[in-house]
Symmetry: C3
Subunit: 398 residues, 3 copies
């Protein structure tokens, strides 16, 4: 039998709520390794009322935002910062985010996470879509940038610590994106890490709780600033096809894998990818590597679950959020109606689920980073690389 | 002199706020009957910060939502559940409700109450109306579905317990729907029940606190799922006229009073009524009765106060909120501009008030339920029944 | 060295938050003068969660709203009330304010302050402007009435009490109006008063924290009801030009400086001013004076910092907010696109700042009030007065 210590932190339906709580290796009589889990409620400013769980496995630390859809705010590995410095200083309570301002770009007012999910009903650009209203009429309605889940709180959260070697810390959360007559989607996430490990795993299941078929989209917006991002950093991935999102991105297609120093006033570019993957397992990886090739972060996922990938390059001034995003998704973050027309929207039957697993792995040291780089090359060698010079169908509707 | 114990729970202007409080029959030295009143503040998820008062008269229990306009969330009578199971798991704090999303249908993101008021300035379908802005210009503005009051918190709440036989529990609340240059409406509600009784009374007064005439609308959206609603349940009322709201509802006009088992993917239907009432008192009733005719819930009200009635039938899959609503109102929940054109908007002079009393009564046992059914038949016999086969003026603008 | 007692109340980035705190002259061993500073968090109704700092210098009291952009809610001097009685009973937590309702007039749902800033990116009438979106496209977007800063919380707040004679109380706050790809403006305010003084000083610095040039607007909306405002009250200022904002205001131009008793149903009027100022210092003042000329409130500011002035006259029924506003600003509160076309939008380079100092001074007694009146006359005598009879360019776009 496993030696698991469990703690329910939030269960709204059951009336359970723990405002603050902390457990460490010492609390359970372990001398080593050192680890801790802490639940807190932030106070003041835009963060007032945001509930967080801070995980420290002894080497890797990260902060999970219960109040923001189980996003991961910031992290660090052996003291190296993971995440980015957004002009928005959060974490931001959803009460301060109005998705509709600035032409449905209001999501940006709450955006400063390292890893934030875009979804669950829609995950792309803002714009209109045709939905069925309560009276059975087809009506044009606005979809907000990147969907709603990042601004919805978990109604249930639980910590499970497995004390048997190697030992692990798991945080489980449930978030409902549910509106009468519209979507009834539930995210059930498990975010876990082993004691001392250099990686965390996000295992998500999205379930259609409606008595009718329902649509779903997911994109993991994983964002990196310094020190991982710097002049000379590279993006590595086993690319089958890469295409610029739009005209501005087209200008950067020949150099999509490389990063400049901060450029004041630069406009973001985005590149859309189809990736190669291991033929048996379907798993692939993408890597962001610093200039000296001694620091990297890899995302590992299955192209069967997350077949589309977006690279977001926003190397603006440091103050403006010098940042890049590696974004595996069920689709590309175009307007949902376009994605639907390309068959890139997941349809779930009543009660149906969609599972996705994303591993986030940090590499320190030239050898480790080289191993990650080789991994991408090995998968790259399996197929041919096509670089689309211009934004075009079926990737973009330009 | 009466023996009343009073407790102010919230009075923002006076700086009074009680976070949690509880009193029972034992606390006041009464051996019997058993009753309790409890004030709590919910924590976590969408409910974080929602203030509730839970009333238990010994037989009837219900939860009043101070933070959601003094709605009644759920109830039970002798263990029989009253209310419904919405896809939304609330109660939902208004900070998580943006009325404007989904074409001004955002109200639905917070909707899971047993009894919720629609109003105070408008109470119907979303759409545009012409309002006077601060500069004296007539401008087209959006009205949200079902108005604002359900997402406004009470600034004052008080409990009054009358210990003299028969004994009663009253919760008084005040909610302001007030915006400079626009409506300045105050709801003053008293929600009361006698010890051990099978009923509660909602006595509302809406006052125009503006120095100018002001409009007001009110509709009591009283919602029932299982066990009251099931295949074979019936709606009983002394009907003078019934008309379908729209084309889809028209299909169900011949069978409007009966309920099917849950139907996956069904579109809601709505029926509009004029009811007969007691000639002297103006009082009438509507009843929802289960299949075996041994469980019923009746609404009692005056057609002088609430002359229009809507029956909402949404017997979708259980997961989608298998539910029906009995909805007495000052008007029909059409777009306000249409209601105004039919003279169905209340106009209040400066300082003027409008009073409404709604009794909610639960019947258990065949005899009790039969008595309620007879009551509707007796009033029915006073007049003739007209069934409009199609949506039409003056009920609907189709 | 000065004898300053400092206390950090909120510092979100540093994880500092003081829920409640109070210090008085006695706490620091001073027998006299009497003064106090108190930090509290309001609970219940629309005010739930609003953090306030209440300052009492022994004669002048005021409440600073940390959660509403460091607005000053209400005040009093020697027991005379300063501020007004809005139909909105606040202070209102921003979670209850949706800027977009009622055609982008939603700001009004939170408006009941004595002194509230309009800004930082825009400060005027609601309407559309053309902004650059994240993809580098120019898009039409809505600007809300009076901007966002009043509904943004301070992420940092600090009290500094100088115990050396004459002694003073300073509250420092920082508020960010920051959205990725859009404005990144920081307000740093110091609100200070000397022990026993009849005045407070608001010293604001707005900084463009973006790596690109950024626009900024500011207007101090200082609002007065009774007793300062009454039939026979006067507005005094050294006017160079006054112009009515619109057709309705035009009707009142000949009598712009005088106030009637409450008029039921009156439509607001607004007058736009250029003021004379001291040639050396650039300082000027405006005064609101009661009928008996024994009570006045003066605003002192520099026309070099705040070159445009608006007088808002809204002498409606007492219940509707009988009120006038003296509003020095960087511009006139027209739609931003119009102000930009007239060169009345501040452009800040990357890292650039704009400083503004506003003194608010209360005068009691005929002699004091006469001195203030003379001050305005003296500055008036420096120039000529032009009264525009009609709304017109360059003041209004009518």
């Amino acid at each position: 039998m496993s030696n698991i210590k469990g703690k329910t932190l939030v269960d709204v339906d059951a009336g359970v709520h723990v405002d603050s709580w902390r457990v460490t290796n010492e609390d359970v009589g372990m001398a080593a390794p050192r680890w801790s889990v802490e639940k807190r409620t932030l106070r003041g400013g835009l963060s007032d009322g945001v509930e967080v769980v801070e995980v420290d496995n002894g080497a890797l630390r990260y902060t999970i935002l219960l109040t923001r859809g189980m996003s991961i705010w910031r992290g660090s590995y052996q003291g190296v910062e993971l995440g980015w410095r957004s002009p928005v200083h959060g974490p931001v309570h959803p009460a301060f985010v109005n998705e509709m301002i600035l032409g449905n770009l209001g999501w940006l007012a709450g955006f400063d996470e390292w890893i934030v999910r875009c979804g669950l009903y829609s995950n792309g650009a803002p714009g209109t879509d045709v939905l069925l209203d309560n009276n059975g009429n087809r009506r044009e309605m606005s979809l907000p940038l990147h969907g709603r889940v990042a601004n919805l709180p978990a109604h249930r959260a639980e910590v499970r610590i497995d004390l048997d070697p190697p030992g692990s810390i798991e945080v489980i959360g449930e978030v409902d994106e549910s509106i009468l007559f519209f979507q009834q989607l539930r995210l059930r996430t498990s975010i876990s890490t082993a004691f001392g490990a250099n990686r965390l795993r996000i295992s998500d299941v999205v379930t259609n709780r409606k008595g009718q078929p329902g649509e779903m989209q997911m994109l993991y917006h994983c964002n990196f600033g310094p020190p991982l991002l710097e002049e000379g950093s590279s993006f590595l991935a086993p690319v089958r096809v890469v295409a610029p999102r739009d005209k501005i991105s087209q200008e950067g297609i020949s150099n999509y894998a490389n990063y400049p120093a901060p450029v004041q006033g630069i406009i973001e570019k985005a590149f859309y990818f189809e990736l190669s993957a291991d033929l048996e397992t379907g798993r692939t990886l993408t890597v962001l590597r610093n200039k000296r090739c001694d620091l990297a972060c890899a995302l590992r996922f299955s192209t069967r679950e997350l077949p589309w990938f977006t690279l977001w390059k926003n190397p603006g001034a440091m103050s403006d959020g010098y940042v890049t995003g590696m974004e595996p998704g069920t689709n590309l973050p175009n307007l949902k109606s376009f994605e639907r027309s390309k068959g890139r929207v997941v349809e779930l039957p009543p009660g149906g689920s969609y599972s996705m697993t994303l591993d986030v792995e940090v590499g320190i040291g030239k050898e480790t980073v080289e191993r990650l780089s080789q991994e991408t090359r090995k998968l790259q060698d399996m197929g041919t690389l096509t670089v689309r010079q211009q934004p075009a169908q079926p990737y973009s509707n330009v």
